[in-house]
């Protein structure tokens, strides 16, 4: 693991209490890790030269510098400010589950804040919607760097509660943000799949690019419980006392079927999907975002 990634691990992030500092920490750490990578601005405003690194596109090599100095340098540009990103963050009760240093909500909020910081840092506009059964808080899209505080306050205020009704939420988002942009959905997706896909489809019909960060805890993905356990539903009023080892096989079958369904549903609607474990470092989410953004620019 590179040194910079060490600081992106959930255990390290968990020790930072303030969300804005977390976001800064994550993004700066992430950028330090990828400073030789091609993930940078794609505009006509020249910013600086950087020494060539394997993986850089040859079209960015400054051949004039090479002719004078016999060294490879690539040109870096200021980003365009044409991106309108909307963070749609799930703050329902199911997001409160967590077995590691960060629960799903904390992890998702950190991802959202980090993305907001990254977007604002690149002069793009970013907004935020926190939802459970209904939209709880809504922050409009702005490009000012001070806007990050508004988003962070909105996420902080949105502690997990109530059930999720994703279909209605996404319909609301589609109506609230009619201009084309990037919708980043951060959720555990323990929702009605029909409603989810209908909502995504609606967003796509409105011309939005949709990026889904599917936040899941290790326990939910591996189900490594043992000993007599009583499970109390967080969003549904059900209880089950059982030997978890005996039910594990069936649980994993159902879970994998669900994940396949979500994965296929997203692919079918042209949605970038990323399953994120709360135990993974947070740079995965940022890298996915940048990759997705570059693909958008190419289109």
């Amino acid at each position: 693991m590179p040194d910079s990634r060490r600081f992106l691990h959930p255990e390290a992030i968990g020790r930072i209490a303030r969300l804005d500092l977390r976001a800064r920490h994550v993004v700066e750490g992430f950028l330090a890790g990828i400073h030789k990578s091609p993930y940078f601005g794609q505009s006509i405003e020249f910013l600086q030269h950087r020494q060539y690194a394997p993986g850089d596109e040859l079209r960015h090599v400054d051949w004039k510098v090479w002719a004078k100095q016999d060294r490879f340098y690539v040109k870096q540009f200021e980003e365009d400010t044409n991106l309108r990103a909307t963070l749609v963050v799930d703050v329902s009760r199911s997001m409160s589950y967590g077995s590691g240093p960060l629960n799903k909500y904390e992890y998702g909020a950190t991802v959202a804040a980090s993305l907001a910081y990254l977007v604002l840092r690149q002069q793009d506009a970013v907004g935020c919607v926190a939802f459970d059964e209904a939209v709880r808080t809504k922050v409009p899209q702005k490009t000012k760097r001070s806007h990050l505080n508004s988003i962070i306050q909105a996420l902080d205020a949105s502690a997990p509660r109530e059930k999720t009704d994703i279909g209605a939420i996404l319909r609301t988002v589609a109506e609230a943000y009619p201009r084309r942009g990037l919708i980043i959905l951060i959720s555990d997706l323990l929702v009605d799949r029909t409603g989810l896909f209908k909502g995504i489809k609606l967003l796509r019909q409105h011309g939005h690019d949709v990026l889904v960060f599917h936040i899941m805890d290790d326990d939910e993905l591996d189900f490594q419980f043992s000993g007599p356990t009583r499970f109390d539903g967080l969003e549904i009023d059900e209880q089950l006392a059982c030997n978890p080892r005996a039910l594990r096989e069936g649980y994993l079958e159902s879970l994998n079927a669900y994940l396949d369904e979500v994965r296929h549903g997203c692919a079918k609607n042209g949605v970038q999907y990323k399953l994120v474990r709360t135990s993974e470092p947070l740079d995965g989410a940022l890298a996915t975002f940048l990759t997705d953004r570059r693909q958008m620019l190419r289109r």
């Binding site: 109390d232 967080l234 969003e235």
Partner: protein, 762 residues
């Protein structure tokens, strides 16, 4: 229902079977709570697998309960009875104990003996069986009595129920028992088991063979193996119990008998005594105490008897009077005392009568022969020769003679030949000397008869021995034969001085048949046979092919042997002794064999009074002489006819109680009231004193294929419950292992086990 060795353990242990249920209930109460988001998948899983999970968990619970139950049952040791016995609740165990009481069991060491060990084993077996709660019966058979059981005698104990009074009953039976003096082996005892009431379907029968397992009885014992297999196949258990710890030192008097020679009053007789060393170490300076008619004699000392070997010594006795005389040889005490003493009864007649038939009325041959057999004067040979003509053979009984000599016979009629043949066939001895009167044709036709007659060889005719007299060589070449044994090792000067001029040649190319009893015992210088012997019936015939008399005949002198040559006297005495040996054969009577006395009812009353050996207190027993049942009589009896007693049939008095060694007396009363006493020496079989034994490993080798259990006497401490039936303890152990394995497999199947990679990742 099976019974249990530790039934109380069952009552304590069985409630533990509920332990898995209790643990399950406790676990249900102390489960942890988890607030869970992905309930949807959990509920789906539970709905889909509910039945199989429930079934597996129930099965797991039952297996765990079964494992505890198996542990408890195994510790309680259930005993399974015979299935029919279980149905009726009355399966019984029949203990058949065969106790070796042959005299080798008197082997003693420290303060015990093999037989005492055997009695201890029997007592412990009975005590163990008494503590049983199922019916137990006990049968006790001694080896020495096994043969009588086959003839209808009851065993010492037969299916005696083992109850509170049984130890007392057993003590009454066992207490007086001592080892017998018989050499009874295990085969008869095992065969006696077949004579017991058949094993019932509800009976567990255990046959115990309590013995010393001497090598002589058990090595290469095919009959034993067969008997044991038969018992095991019939469903009985066979337990072999060894009562001897090691081989001990034992010497035995193996033989006490007169050496060949003339037995007559006033004539010295050599007696042979053989000491056998059956022990593991050499014996030195062994003193054999001797008694002659109850009076001690100078003992014979044997310097050394190597281990496993025997040494024979001769000592002279001379009985001054005619009649039956007793001799006894006794060794010092050792591990087995029974075989340390041996007795002998010698019949000593006033003189031994010898019949001499001379074909020549002048009797010149008879003169020289009788002079050799009975020189007269101060020399007592004990022989009383009677010279008669051939007609005597036909007209007189011959059985009073030990030996008959035919000298220079020209012919005999058929009656005379028949009488002679009967005499020899019954054990008499016949010596033949030829002469000028002998005719080859008669000899061949009447006496040789193609090998069927008395003459050992066919004759061609008289011939002159033509040799170079200037060459110094003896005319007679003798073989290694008892008659000439006295000349062996000497320079043989007297025999070398004998000159043979004339002899009867054998038929051309005649040689004795290799598998016949005919044998050339002396040759002439020209390799022609001079003396030939033949076994005829029980008796012996020796033919000298020359003349007994050295006197001149019309053909000249046949030889000079009897003319002043001492070797003639010696050779003739040895010849007479050799020929009379079958009549002097001393029957070796063994302890335990019935003593049969022929009773001529024309002379004696049919009641015979037997006196036991003096060592037993001289008890008397009167036995009526009865007509022996011959095979022909048996056939008649089978046909329903009664055997009619006939006055002129010889009867036999039989004494069956001959279990002790010593001298038995049979007193017959003549019709005139006077008594005749006959004495008989009964001795133990010396080979029973051979104390070499088979260890467990060697025994297993001999009894390959036979199902049995082997115990040492000191290790016998039977658990009474083990005797009741089949102990399921071992089976339950295997069942427990199977249940635990199944539980582990099922528990593994029902549980989640992360793969190594997965576990590492976690």
């Amino acid at each position: 229902m099976p019974s249990f060795v530790f039934e109380s353990l069952l009552w304590w242990g069985l409630p533990l079977v509920g332990l898995p249920v209790l643990i399950h209930l406790i676990n249900l109460m102390r489960h942890r709570r988890v607030e869970w988001a992905a309930m949807e998948f959990l509920l789906q899983s539970q709905k889909r697998h509910r039945k199989s999970v429930l079934f597996k968990q129930l099965l797991l619970l039952l297996l765990r309960m079964a494992a505890i139950a198996a542990v408890v049952m195994m510790l309680a040791q259930p005993l399974l009875r015979n299935k029919w016995g279980a149905i009726f609740g009355g399966a019984r165990t029949h203990h058949v104990v065969l106790v070796d009481d042959s005299f080798s069991m008197s082997d003693h060491w420290a303060d015990t003996s093999a037989f005492e060990q055997a009695k201890g084993v029997v007592t412990r077996l009975a005590a163990s069986a008494e503590r049983q709660d199922t019916p137990q019966v006990f049968t006790l058979i001694r080896f020495s009595r096994a043969g009588q059981i086959a003839r209808g005698t009851q065993p010492d104990l037969l299916e005696s129920p083992i109850d509170a009074q049984f130890p007392e009953t057993l003590e009454k039976v066992l207490g007086p028992l001592v080892p017998s003096q018989t050499a009874a082996g295990p085969v008869e005892a095992l065969d006696a088991v077949d004579g017991l009431p058949a094993k019932g379907a509800d009976e567990d029968r255990i046959v115990y063979l309590v013995s010393d397992f001497r090598a002589g009885d058990w090595r290469e014992a095919a009959a034993l193996r067969k008997s044991l297999e038969r018992i095991a196949t019939a469903g009985s258990q066979v337990h072999l119990v060894n009562c001897v710890d090691a081989m001990h030192q034992n010497l035995a008097i193996a033989v006490l008998k007169p050496a060949p020679g003339t037995r007559a009053a006033g004539v010295p007789l050599l007696v042979e005594v053989t000491v056998q060393n059956f022990g593991p170490e050499d014996a030195r300076n062994v003193s054999v105490a001797l008694q002659e008619d109850g009076h001690a004699r100078t003992p014979v000392v044997v310097e050394e008897v190597p281990a496993g070997k025997s040494v024979t010594r001769r000592f002279p006795v001379m009985f001054a009077t005619a009649g039956q005389h007793e001799l006894a040889a006794q060794l010092e005490s050792d591990a087995v005392t029974t075989d340390n003493r041996r007795t002998l009864v010698v019949d000593v007649p006033p003189a031994v009568e010898v019949l001499v038939i001379d074909g020549d009325a002048r009797g010149s041959d008879a003169f020289f022969l009788t002079s050799a057999l009975s020189p007269g004067g101060k020399i007592a040979s004990g022989l009383s020769p009677v010279i008669e003509s051939p007609r005597y053979l036909r007209d007189h009984p011959l059985d009073r003679f030990a030996t008959i000599f035919l000298l220079n016979i020209d012919r005999l009629d058929s009656a005379e030949i028949a009488a002679l043949e009967d005499f020899v066939r019954l054990g008499g001895g016949l010596g033949i000397f030829l002469g000028e009167r002998s005719r080859a044709a008669f000899m061949n036709d009447s006496l040789y008869r193609g090998g069927e007659g008395l003459l050992p060889l066919p004759l061609a005719g008289p011939e002159e021995l033509i040799v170079d007299r200037l060459e110094k060589a003896p005319d007679i070449e003798v073989s290694d034969h008892p008659i000439f044994a006295v000349f062996a090792g000497e320079r043989n000067s007297f025999l070398g001085a004998v000159t043979i001029n004339r002899y009867f040649a054998a038929e051309k190319n005649w040689l004795p048949e290799p598998d016949s009893s005919t044998r050339i015992i002396a040759h002439l210088r020209n390799k022609a046979p001079l003396a030939v012997e033949k076994q005829f019936g029980e008796g012996r015939v020796v033919a000298f092919l020359t003349k007994a008399s050295p006197l001149e005949t019309e053909l000249g002198s046949w030889n000079n042997w009897a003319r002043g040559n001492p070797s003639f006297v010696v050779a003739m005495l040895e010849l007479q002794s050799y020929l009379s040996a079958p009549k002097n054969a001393d029957p070796s009577r063994l302890v335990g064999t019935p003593l049969s006395i022929p009773v001529d009812t024309a002379l004696f009353t049919p009641q015979v009074r037997f006196m036991m050996p003096r060592e037993l207190g001289g008890a008397t027993l009167t036995v009526d002489a009865t007509t022996p049942v011959s095979p022909e009589n048996n056939e008649k009896l089978k046909d329903g006819e009664k055997a009619a007693p006939a006055d002129n049939i010889e009867r036999v008095a039989v004494l069956n109680e001959t279990d002790s060694s010593g001298i038995y007396e049979a007193r017959l009363v003549k019709l005139d009231g006077s008594e005749v006493t006959e004495r008989f020496a009964l001795n133990v079989a010396p080979e029973e004193g051979d104390l070499r034994k088979l260890d467990a490993q060697a025994l297993a080798g001999e009894l390959q294929g036979v199902r049995y259990e082997y115990y040492e006497a000191q290790d016998i401490n039977y658990n009474p419950q083990q005797l009741a039936g089949f102990n399921l303890g071992e089976s339950l152990l295997y069942l427990l292992i199977a249940v635990l394995l199944a539980e582990q497999v099922l528990a593994y199947v029902c549980s989640y086990h992360p793969k190594p990679l997965e576990a590492r990742a976690k």
